[in-house]
Amino acid sequence: MRTAHTLCRMLRYTLKRILSLVISLAVASLVIFTVIEIAPGDPASFMLGINAQPETLAALRTELGLDVTKVERYVTWVTGMLTGDFGTSYTYRTPVTDMVTQRMWVSLPLALYALTLSTLIAFPAGIYAAARRGQAGDIGVMGATQLGVAIPNFWFAMMLVLLFAIKLRWFAAGGFAGWDKGLLAGLHSLTLPAIALALPQAAILARVMRSALLDVLGEDFMRTARAKGLTARQALWRHGLRNAMIPVLTIIGLQFSFLLAGGIIIEQVFYLPGLGRLIFQSISARDLIVVESVTMLLVFAVIFVNFCVDLAYAAVDPRLRARA
């Protein structure tokens, strides 16, 4: 009976979240389309230059689908995206879906690589600081995280290039080897960008990890664990960490979408052929359909990851379901 009730609540919460997901995506698509539409500059005139004949211009506008009303264009764009068709790039004349898929193979691994690094740095740092609360180790780690949050990642990227690419020559200063050269070669060229992206995120995550652990350490069940004879270290590993993971996992989920979108500037620093560079190249070439679609895709990724985080959170925290 109780399980059925819980399931029902979870279902209601999920449906409510799905509805809000759909509304968010609809509004987002409308906002992006409107912003791009009011952008000055006609893609067809831009492609043909100032000496274009009016007939050629009209023909190109028809070919690009620019001669229909804005509402029709919006509907075509949205229905196309729902079926996985993002339209055809104005400048490259190739399907946007192909371009995006190709670039995804750089941006997605970069975000995952950075997330892995950030977690690998933040977990030990956060646990170490929480276990030594108020001592020199804690103050040192917290000081380092303050610094990590203040460093702009693109500046850090330049310093990494200066040290590891120019001085030590361990890595290339930019560019991407390609996955066809092998997994290691690919990862090697993503290492410096991933470190640059991971640093500020690791600093934030370490702070969250520390404060989540400190909250848990004050709970009654931790005292019970110590009372039944566990050492502080055993209690921390067996009971503390598992309970502290809820807020930490939420932040990791949010960081992933941030890293995917936040890689834009880092991709510029390292000349990586990812989604970020695609946006910049398309903006300067007035290839608006690509700008529209890539932006929408990034917004979708962020909204969808937030949605999954919300659901995961509700699955472990009954109080949230009750509010639905």
Binding site: A28, I38, Q146, L147, A150, F154, V269, I279, F280
Partner: protein, 271 residues
């Protein structure tokens, strides 16, 4: 904790002081080119060295601080001026359709990857400091709206607010006269945090060429200029980087310090 406030305050004072002093005095004219004297390392007449045009880096940093300060300050101002009234309104009409619309609107803005949208806005409407301010400012609105609403909600249940309601004051008047003064501390702390994020965002946008345009000096642009010369003149990248880090660090420390200082519970715990 007072130490945070002290160190943060000093760093912020240096930053604001440098920006203000640059209006009347800089060691050298920041716009004067001196090609024979380019790439000078720090020390000597040019304390922080010179750039690829022989311009004095310290002077450029001082004038650049104005750009960072102005962009971040106005962006936080936009967020506060729109976000705080929205938050107060949502709290006053809690549970109503207005509240729901404001909060869902907030969620929506939060869901957008801010950097991508800022780049989109500046790319579409043209690169420049004004558009950078708008792009950064928009994302400050939901931050202030949410924090104001959250704090105001619990205040609406308190006795002194009930008393004001019994006295016949309108919701708008209660919001301005009783709620707002009680959430000010929280908003000041959040303001310093958003200010530091604004400085980082401005530097990022200027770095990719979408912020302040030449000849206006800005820290992000200085880093962009330095990128191709980092192997021959590392100080060109180091100096603006240190300026950004120290300013953001100062603001964050001040935010932490202010939060502890303004929270009466923590003050009691200290004494």
């Amino acid at each position: 904790m007072i130490r945070n406030l002290f160190v943060g305050g000093i760093l912020c004072a240096i930053f604001i002081g440098a920006a203000l002093i640059s209006f009347v005095w800089t060691p050298f004219d920041h716009a004067t080119l001196n090609i024979p004297g380019r790439f000078q390392t720090p020390g000597g007449a040019h304390l922080l060295g010179t750039d690829h045009f022989g311009r004095d880096i310290l002077s450029l940093l001082m004038v650049g601080a104005r750009t960072s300060l102005a962009v971040a300050l106005v962006a936080v101002g936009i967020g506060m001026c729109l976000g705080i009234p929205l938050g107060l309104w949502a709290a006053a009409r809690r549970g109503s359709l207005v509240d729901e619309i404001i909060m869902r609107g907030n969620d929506l803005v939060f869901a957008f990857p801010s950097l991508v949208i800022a780049i989109l806005i500046t790319a579409v409407f043209g690169a420049g400091a004004i558009n950078a301010i708008i792009a950064i400012g928009i994302f400050n609105i939901p931050v202030f709206a949410r924090i104001t609403r959250g704090a105001a909600l619990s205040l609406w249940e308190r006795e002194f607010i009930l008393a004001a309601r019994v006295a016949g004051k309108s919701a708008a008047r209660i919001s301005v006269e009783h709620i707002l003064p009680n959430v000010t501390n929280l908003l000041i702390v959040q303001g310093t945090i958003q200010f530091s994020l604004g400085i980082l965002a401005e530097a990022g946008l200027s770095y990719v060429g979408l912020g302040a345009q030449p000849p206006t000096p800005s820290w992000g642009r200085m880093l962009a200029d330095a990128q191709t010369m980092v192997s021959i003149a590392p100080h060109m990248a180091l100096m603006p980087g240190f300026a950004i880090i120290l300013t953001v660090l100062g603001l964050n420390l001040m935010g932490d310090g202010l939060r502890d200082y303004l929270d009466p519970r923590l003050r009691v715990a200290r004494t």
